[in-house]
Every structure is written in structure tokens, then in C-alpha cells.
């Protein structure tokens, strides 16, 4: 009796309920959604301040900030969901700049009719990812759009971190002679989404690699290797990311196809659909450009970390006014590994 009458508020029906327009109205329904769902799962001292923003201390260093909108379809896929993806993705964007990620903000655009049970699953997954990463969500926002104007839920996350003076992993630092390392097998996130979306029903399901990489990056920095550039090859895959770096640094690159780590399942699925794993999105991998003399040291440090066990040396940097990324094929010929053209897979993250 007492429980039911407490505050005269009927709890959210998280089992059968759905998002409606009142959840974005700014009124009591929204306050309740925030209280019983977002604050309950994501709760921390900063979020607990209950202001429109959060006030946090920052350690010394330069501030790094990154933002990322997530529109992945389907919302749930093997290996993850839009929730953990939105946390890991933004942590990675901050971490590859050499920063220690500190805080996250999350903005939700909910579509009228989204089952509250799905939203809870997503928020729980975000909470788990944030807690494992040790990076709290300190502020947020919720809006609701009419049915048909969204696709379930879109989540934008913004992350801040600090990077020490003198640390610079920007994309313009690759130099001729440098070595190119990838932290593990490529193309898993994109193919997991693709297989799910097209109901390809492979016997061995491909699982998204979504993961927060700041721990791996910390281990890499601790190795003392002269890292020039770090970047996570998400949309457009390894090929597109290397082209970005080649252009920023004004260099060329030569890859060795036989050195690229690709899971057999991913290779087979790509072959089946006609995709190239070099262009398929990753959500838990990074590319490192490293001074040639430190490549072995960095590789060893990466392989000692759980997220870098399959790290591999895949190529090298050379002078090239055209900034071509080329590859020696396993077949023995040479070709360009060009920028992604058009749209390979829409709404992948």
C-alpha cells in the first residue's frame, strides 16, 4: 500500500509501456523517465547535481572534446547495441588523440512508440559500458519526435578528456619509413550489422567488435614507443582512415594484403556480399603509425593487451606526392586502396 502511494506517482511501465510525446514535453512524464530510467542506471555524483549541465573538476593538461551521433539500424546486433556503441565510439574518438577520457554527455532523440523495454535495455547497456570504461555520463538531454520522424532512437554522445602537454597523435605526423599497425582483425562491426540487417543467417554469427580502446592506448603509450598517429577506422574502414592520414601527412603508403588480419567468417561474408573488408567499419580497432625502430616494441605492448592480441604490422609509409595508399596483393600484383566511394553500408553506427 505504502509503496503504491509513495509520492502519488505510478511507476513507468517498463515492461509494456512505450515512449509517447509527453516524455519529451518537459513536464512530469519527462522528469519521471529521467528519474526512473536514465538517472537510475547512469547515476553518478555529477548527473546527481540535477542541473541542466554538470560541473566537474579537470586535471591539468589540454582539453580534448569529440562528439558523435549514433543512428545504427538495427538497434540491437550481435556483440552490442546502439547504447554501448554510443559510449565506446566517443571514448575512442577522445582516446585516439592521446587523451584520458573523463566525462560523457548523451543526447537522446526518441521516436514515439519506442518500447520502454528497449530503451531500458539500451540505457542499461550504456551504463555497463560507461562503468567498465570508468567514464561517467554526467549530463544528458531527451527529445521525442512523432512516429515516423525517427527510427526508434538516435543517441548523440559528446566526450571530453585531457591530454598532456607535448602528446600529439594527430593525423599529420606520419613520415616516410614509419610502420603501420592495426590492433586486430578488421571488418567485424560492419559485417555483424550487415548480416543482421539482411538476415543472411550465417552459421557462425559475426559479432561486432565494439569496445572502448583507451585502456589499450594507455598500454601503448606506456610502452614508450614513438607513436606518430592513432585513429580508429570506423565508417569507411581501414582503407578510408589510411587515406585520411596519408592526405593529412602528405605521404604515400604501401600495404601488404597477406598481412591484414581478417577473421575467416568476415572474409567469407564479404566475399559472399561482394564487399572488401578494408572498407568495412570497425568499432573496437585502431590504426597506429609508429617510428620504424619502435614498431616491434609497440606491437609487443599491443599484443599483451586483451584488445590487441591480433595486432599486426600491415604496411609502411613512404614519400609520395600523390598520397596514394597502395597494396601489394596476395596475388602478387599492385593496386590502389582508394577512398571509399559512395555509400557502402548506410547507418552502420
Amino acid at each position: 500500500m505504502n509503496g503504491a502511494r509513495k509520492g502519488y506517482v505510478r511507476p513507468l511501465d517498463l515492461r509494456h509501456g512505450a515512449v509517447d510525446m509527453t516524455h519529451g514535453s518537459g513536464g512530469r512524464a519527462m522528469a519521471q523517465l529521467i528519474e526512473e530510467l536514465f538517472a537510475k542506471h547512469l547515476g553518478n555524483d555529477f548527473l546527481g547535481q540535477r542541473n541542466d549541465g554538470a560541473v566537474m573538476p579537470i586535471p591539468p593538461g589540454r582539453l580534448v572534446m569529440s562528439t558523435d551521433g549514433h543512428v545504427v539500424s538495427p538497434l540491437f546486433f550481435p556483440g552490442g547495441d546502439i547504447g554501448c556503441l554510443s559510449i565506446n565510439g566517443t571514448i575512442n574518438d577522445v582516446a585516439v588523440l592521446g587523451a584520458t577520457p573523463l566525462y560523457l554527455a548523451a543526447g537522446f532523440i526518441l521516436e514515439e512508440g519506442l518500447p520502454l523495454a528497449d530503451l531500458r535495455r539500451i540505457v542499461e547497456s550504456m551504463a555497463r559500458a560507461a562503468s567498465e570504461a570508468g567514464v561517467p555520463v554526467v549530463t544528458g538531454d531527451t527529445k521525442v519526435v512523432q512516429k515516423g520522424a525517427g527510427d526508434g532512437v538516435y543517441i548523440t554522445t559528446t566526450g571530453v578528456g585531457v591530454v598532456a602537454e607535448g602528446e600529439d597523435f594527430s593525423g599529420d605526423r606520419a613520415r616516410a619509413g614509419d610502420q603501420i599497425i592495426v590492433s586486430g582483425s578488421i571488418g567485424e562491426h560492419g559485417m555483424a550489422i550487415m548480416a543482421q540487417r539482411e538476415s543472411l543467417g550465417f552459421a557462425a554469427p559475426i559479432v561486432s567488435d565494439t569496445a572502448a580502446l583507451h585502456g589499450l592506448i594507455a598500454a601503448m603509450r606506456a610502452s614508450g614507443a614513438a607513436i606518430r598517429t592513432l585513429r580508429d577506422p570506423t565508417r569507411g574502414g581501414v582503407a578510408t582512415t589510411l587515406n585520411e592520414i596519408a592526405r593529412q601527412s602528405g605521404v604515400g603508403m604501401m600495404l601488404q594484403e597477406s598481412a591484414l588480419p581478417v577473421q575467416a567468417e568476415v572474409a567469407a561474408a564479404c566475399e559472399f556480399i561482394g564487399l572488401d573488408p578494408l572498407y568495412v567499419a570497425n568499432e573496437g580497432k585502431l590504426l597506429a603509425i609508429v617510428a620504424p625502430e619502435d614498431a616491434d616494441k609497440l606491437l609487443a605492448a599491443m599484443r599483451a593487451h586483451p584488445l590487441g592480441q591480433r595486432a599486426a604490422l600491415i604496411g609502411s609509409v613512404h614519400a609520395d606526392a600523390q598520397h596514394f595508399v597502395q597494396m601489394t596483393t596476395a596475388f602478387g600484383g599492385r593496386r590502389i586502396v582508394d577512398w571509399l566511394t559512395g555509400e557502402q553500408l548506410p547507418r552502420i553506427c
Binding site: A312, D320, G332
Partner: protein
């Protein structure tokens, strides 16, 4: 990957390359046309040319189904969606081919929005018929399923391709008939390989002027699984050009080149079958029967680059007229000139290489294609741009060989 990696093996490739170098005579050149876009793609993607001696030249042929469709055919598909208000289902490749009025299927799709008539498309209501939509599909069966799910919607499948993709379209039409579907039809743009080869061999550049040296053909494997090798025997006999039907893996292509060189050296002009793992002389009789049941020859069909070719394409038979989008919606083909500077026509005939086109890589790029050959992954221009353009820049060929220690 079993049954795939074996055909991309680097060690075998080196062995074949050595055999080709040995077989190629020092006193002559060899020019072979790979007919099919699938071969063009494989050659570029695996860097096959790097393994060939300079005396062996590969000429890209017209066998890219997207490339040979003239602008007027894409216009028909767009008109169906914009004016007739149908849901047009297309494979991905034709979506970006430039059409008339600055449109392409993908631009028309953006104009229509998702589910025309909804809030988001109010701005285009004046131009678009209610309900028009353009969808990218991976399988023709998706188009049929869509028609079944939504009987209120007129679904049109934009059927393109050579003989390989024709039997599935025939099957689709028969299925639609069996299901009694009243809202499904096909915009049939299926074309025929032998007609295109004949057109190349009859071209003045080959026949009269000799400006296009052509010593033989690498024939398309997948097409031949359907039609067999017999239709090529005419070319070998009549035009004295050897044909080797080859698979689409890079080793298949190299093996075919070796077989062609041997024939040329011996003065032979035979049809040989490198792709014996799937191709027979007579092909797939059942598929052929299915195709002839549903389709008949068009008297004439306009090809990009090759012009109007008699009996070079298929149309839906009268018995299946209700599934023919051309008849149902009364859309007619209207010829439209290619862009004045675009050399797709000459590239498709093998007369020019992509890099010989003035606008290649400057005005015409994969992001902003002017001609169809820059669009499809099987197009000669797209293949050269995406995989091979570094060879046009001498400095780059000095890039170091990067070898990873085992």
C-alpha cells in the same frame, strides 16, 4: 576460404606468369579483350597486369551491364517512379548512373523521400506522383516480396544484365503470374553477349582500319554457365579470333591469357573452356528454356557506345504482357545523347582506354561520375580509377615493396 583462395594463390600466379613470359614470342604483341566487367574488375583489383609481360595488352570490353545501358533507359526507370508513382526496385550499381535533367536514380530517390506524400516530401509534391519510391535491393526476390506485402503499391523491378541474370528475372515473372500478382512488373533491359561481341568485331576499328588490334577474347564465365560455349564458335570460325571462356578469379584470367597466346602462336582460332568447373558446351538447357518461355528478342536495342544493335536484347513476351512495365505504364525509350566530352562509348568498344578520356579523373570521378563506366564497380573507368591509376604517375611506381616478415 576454401574454393576461393586457391584461385588467388600468389605462388601459382608467379608460375603462370613465368609460363606466359616463356610462351609470348619476342617478335610480336598480343592484344586480348576481356569482354566482361567481372574480368576487368578482377584484373584491376588483384593487379594482374603487373604480372604480365609488356607485350601482352588487355583491352577492356563492353561486358558491364550498367555501363551499356544508355541514358534513355535510366530515364525510363526514373520516370516510372516520378511520374507513374511506382516503387522502383533497382540493384545498387545503376543507382548512381547519370541520367537526363541532372538526375540519377539516387537523386530521384532523394527527391521522392521515403514514402512520398508524408510530411518530409511536401516540397516535391508538385513534381512527384503520389506514392513513387525508389529502393535499392540485393535480390530480385525482394521486389516480389514487397509486391506481395503491399498490394496497394505498384512494384517495378529494374531488370538489367547479360544472360546470367536473365533466368532469375524469368523465374520472378513466372512466380508473379502463379501468385496472381496485379501489382508487380519488370522493366526489362536484359541484353545479349554474342550481339555485343559481334558489334565489336564488325566495328570499323577492327574490321577495316585495324586501329584496334584484337587477337582474341577472354569470354565471360558466368554468362557461359547459361548459354554454354557454343555461341562463340561462330566468332572463332567466322572472324578467326580465339575465345577462351574464363572464370573471374585472377588465376583464371592468367590461365586464359596463356591459352590464348598458345592459340595465337599456333595460328588457331578455337573456343576453349578454362572454366570447365562450371561451363559446358551446351550450357544450362533448363535456364535457356525458362528464358525463351518468358522473353523474346527485341528487334533492336540501343546500347551505350555500340549504338542500335539488331536482336541484341530481350523483351517480355505477349503472354506475360501484364508483367511488362513498358506496356503497363506506357513508358517508351527516348534516345538521349551522352555528355559531349564523355568517352564511355569509345571505352566500351575498346578503342580508348579510360585514361585517354579528357575528363577522366578530373571532371569525371567516382564521386561525380559523368559516364556510366565510372559508376559501376565493373566499369573500366571505375576499375582503373579505384585500383590502377597509380600506373599513370611514373613517380609512384617507385614505391617500395613492403614485405612483412613472416
Amino acid at each position: 576460404m576454401r574454393f576461393v583462395d586457391e584461385f588467388r594463390d600468389g605462388a601459382l600466379a608467379r608460375g603462370l606468369a613465368a609460363a606466359i613470359r616463356q610462351a609470348a614470342r619476342a617478335d610480336r604483341d598480343y592484344s586480348f579483350m576481356e569482354f566482361c566487367g567481372g574480368h576487368t574488375h578482377a584484373i584491376a583489383r588483384y593487379g594482374v597486369t603487373d604480372l604480365l609481360p609488356p607485350a601482352v595488352r588487355l583491352i577492356h570490353g563492353p561486358g558491364c551491364p550498367v555501363c551499356v545501358l544508355p541514358i534513355g533507359r535510366i530515364d525510363m526507370a526514373i520516370r516510372l517512379a516520378l511520374e507513374a508513382g511506382v516503387t522502383l526496385c533497382s540493384y545498387g550499381d545503376p543507382m548512381r548512373v547519370p541520367a537526363s535533367a541532372g538526375l540519377s536514380l539516387i537523386r530521384a530517390k532523394a527527391k521522392l523521400g521515403r514514402g512520398a506524400g508524408s510530411v518530409g516530401t511536401a516540397g516535391t509534391a508538385g513534381t512527384a506522383a503520389a506514392g513513387g519510391e525508389i529502393r535499392m535491393i540485393y535480390s530480385p526476390a525482394d521486389a516480389l516480396a514487397l509486391a506481395q506485402q503491399d498490394p496497394e503499391r505498384q512494384v517495378v523491378f529494374f531488370a538489367i544484365g547479360f544472360e546470367t541474370t536473365t533466368p532469375p528475372t524469368a523465374l520472378l515473372i513466372k512466380q508473379a503470374q502463379a501468385l496472381g500478382l496485379r501489382n508487380f512488373s519488370v522493366l526489362c533491359c536484359h541484353v545479349l553477349t554474342p550481339s555485343a561481341i559481334a558489334s565489336i568485331l564488325e566495328a570499323p576499328e577492327v574490321r577495316r582500319w585495324g586501329t584496334l588490334p584484337l587477337d582474341g577474347f577472354i569470354g565471360p564465365a558466368h554468362v557461359s554457365t547459361i548459354i554454354g560455349t557454343r555461341p562463340y564458335e561462330f566468332f572463332a570460325e567466322e572472324y578467326r579470333k580465339p575465345v577462351v571462356i574464363a572464370g573471374f578469379e585472377p588465376l583464371d584470367v592468367m590461365q586464359a591469357i596463356l591459352m590464348l597466346i598458345k592459340q595465337v602462336n599456333a595460328g588457331q582460332a578455337l573456343v576453349e573452356n578454362e572454366f570447365s568447373r562450371a561451363v559446358s558446351r551446351d550450357g544450362n538447357r533448363k535456364a535457356q528454356q525458362l528464358v525463351s518461355e518468358v522473353f523474346e528478342l527485341r528487334r533492336s536495342f540501343a546500347w551505350r557506345g555500340l549504338g542500335e544493335l539488331p536482336y541484341s536484347a530481350l523483351r517480355i513476351r505477349q503472354e506475360f504482357a501484364e508483367f511488362d512495365a513498358e506496356r503497363r505504364f506506357a513508358v517508351a525509350y527516348q534516345a538521349v545523347e551522352d555528355h559531349a566530352a564523355c568517352e564511355c562509348g569509345a571505352v566500351l568498344r575498346g578503342v580508348k582506354r579510360p585514361q585517354d578520356c579528357r575528363i577522366f579523373g578530373s571532371v569525371c570521378t567516382p564521386e561525380n561520375p559523368v559516364g556510366a563506366c565510372m559508376v559501376s564497380s565493373e566499369g573500366a573507368c571505375a576499375a582503373h580509377y579505384s585500383f590502377g591509376r597509380f600506373v599513370d604517375v611514373t613517380a609512384v611506381s617507385e614505391a617500395p615493396d613492403f614485405v612483412v616478415a613472416p
